[in-house]
Amino acid sequence: MQYSKRWFWLFVAPALMTFSLVVIVPLMHGFYFSFTDWDGINNQPAVVGFQNYLEAFTQGGSFLRAFSFTSIFALSTVLTVNLVAFGLALIVTQPFRGATTLRSLFFLPNLIGGLILGFVWLFVFNKVFPTLGEMFHLPFLNGWLSTPITGFFGLVIIFTWKLSGYMMIIYVAGIQTIPPSLLEAADIDGVSWWQKIRHITFPMVAPAFTVGMFLALSGAFKLYDENFALTNGGPFESTQMMAMDVYNTAFEYLHFGAAQAKAILFLLIVASLSLIQMSINKKREVEM
């Protein structure tokens, strides 16, 4: 089955053109601008070579700070999101009444926009935490988001809360592929609950773990909305993540060239994460 060249281009060109104008052309533009002193207005900026890149790597600069903060955040949330999600999946796959309702409730936060969730938690941290702290005499519930460490935990909590319900569904799908006969056989042999999880459930949902790990990683690296709504990078840029660093370097400090160099570095990091994930998936498919 083959259609004429004319039909081919008539059908493919609209998608290809839109895509090129929105993604490919700006990417090439951006690559060029990252080597200039572009200010966002003058489109014939002077070429400055690798200066923007070198500046990004200077000690104490906002890029390295944002990079290390984002990396620590990403590694922490990979753990919290997947642990919580797996735990929730174990619970909601039990055969009790209301399990599906629980599933829908855990999934709900994921549908609401990150910005709105950020504002919801801003109220919880700023207003409800102090009330709870007073009630139960827990002084550490005061002044959340006003220090780097509580800002960090605030972001970890909101990200885990948002993403774990989503990941839970992926694990539920994995758990449901376990043949019931396998579990029944284990029951007859008197295998304990933990042994069943350790030796049957874990290996069976292993592919879902890869998906979960990289979803959390790339989600954490690209995070902007929650970061903006909850801490806005504060106090003193200590909780500023990479996406926000790019944004602020451009729109707060008007160093568009430097911001674009950071954006290219950001692209390299996020793209290599995805490539690693793809190669792992490929390998697994071959093995299976």
Partner: protein, 273 residues
């Protein structure tokens, strides 16, 4: 006996956790019905004597809620329609045409999945500003550009498995390619069309970073932009801010209640790819 005990225990734990999960939304809802003093005195109590519905009336008006709702609706609707339309057209032709050009184009779309939005946003906004595209049609155009590759990859995967026999018969009878695509192929792709639509509805409806860069007129604001502006203006007036939040969460929850199955399925399929 032992088993049912464990079951009850897990059920209890599940319910306890679900209550914890819903707590932030619940507390926002409760406090959105209080006068400022009620929020100040105790955020955990019921509205009681400080109860009021006024917050909603004011927030609804100050946020120009209906206007931003319609803006969000229009932008989401047209973006999704074009994503589906252009995506189906391109994916189908790329599957059916077996030559080098076709393969290269498909791989360009696949590779593009690696590019995060933040890495192109500065030059993109710059260019779009120059050609007078910082408006809702421009935003729709950019939404299509960013979502089209994933749509094509999804459709491509499905169309590969659609037998060509049907199409061959239609060509014999002189049907044109548009007729074949929209009357014969598309109906077979309903599930994946649903998935792509849901994925994009959720993404575009909730998107903040792209619209905030593109939309610079108050009357064009989408819901997330309106919430952000409203929060900036009333950052000390929690009673109004919370009512505004509830107003923006309601449509999403309603959508979820009415199309839960397809939403969950669509979003999960999007992840596993």
């Amino acid at each position: 006996m032992k088993k049912s005990l464990k079951n009850h225990g897990l059920r209890g734990l599940g319910i306890f956790l679900a209550l914890g999960y819903m707590f932030p939304l619940y507390i926002v809802l409760v406090n959105s019905f209080k006068k400022p003093k009620g929020i100040f005195i105790n955020t955990l109590s019921f509205p009681g004597e400080y109860g009021t519905f006024e917050n909603y009336v004011i927030a609804f008006k100050k946020m120009s809620y209906m206007r931003s709702f319609m803006n969000s609706l229009g932008i989401t609707f047209f973006s999704v329609v074009f994503i589906l339309l252009l995506g189906l057209m391109a994916a189908w032709m790329l599957v059916r045409t077996k030559n080098k050009t076709s393969t290269v184009i498909f791989y360009v779309f696949v590779t593009a999945m690696l590019i995060p939005f933040q890495s192109v946003m500065l030059p993109l906004v710059n260019t779009m500003g120059r050609i007078g595209f910082l408006n809702p049609p421009g935003l729709i155009f950019m939404n299509v550009g960013f979502s089209i590759s994933l749509a094509i990859i999804f459709f491509h995967g499905f169309i590969k498995n659609v037998p060509v026999a049907l199409e061959e018969a239609a060509v014999m009878e002189g049907a044109s390619p548009p007729r074949i695509l929209f009357l014969i192929i598309s109906p077979l792709l309903k599930p994946i069309i649903m998935t792509v639509a849901i994925l994009n509805i959720m993404r575009i409806w909730n998107d903040y970073l792209l619209p905030v860069l593109i939309i610079n007129k108050k009357e064009w604001r989408t819901i997330p932009l309106m919430v952000a502006a409203f929060f900036g203006e009333y950052s000390k007036a929690w009673n109004l801010a919370l009512a505004g939040l509830v107003l923006t969460i309601i449509p999403v929850v309603l959508f979820y209640i009415f199309s839960q199955k397809s939403i969950v399925k669509g979003l999960i399929q999007g992840a596993v790819k």
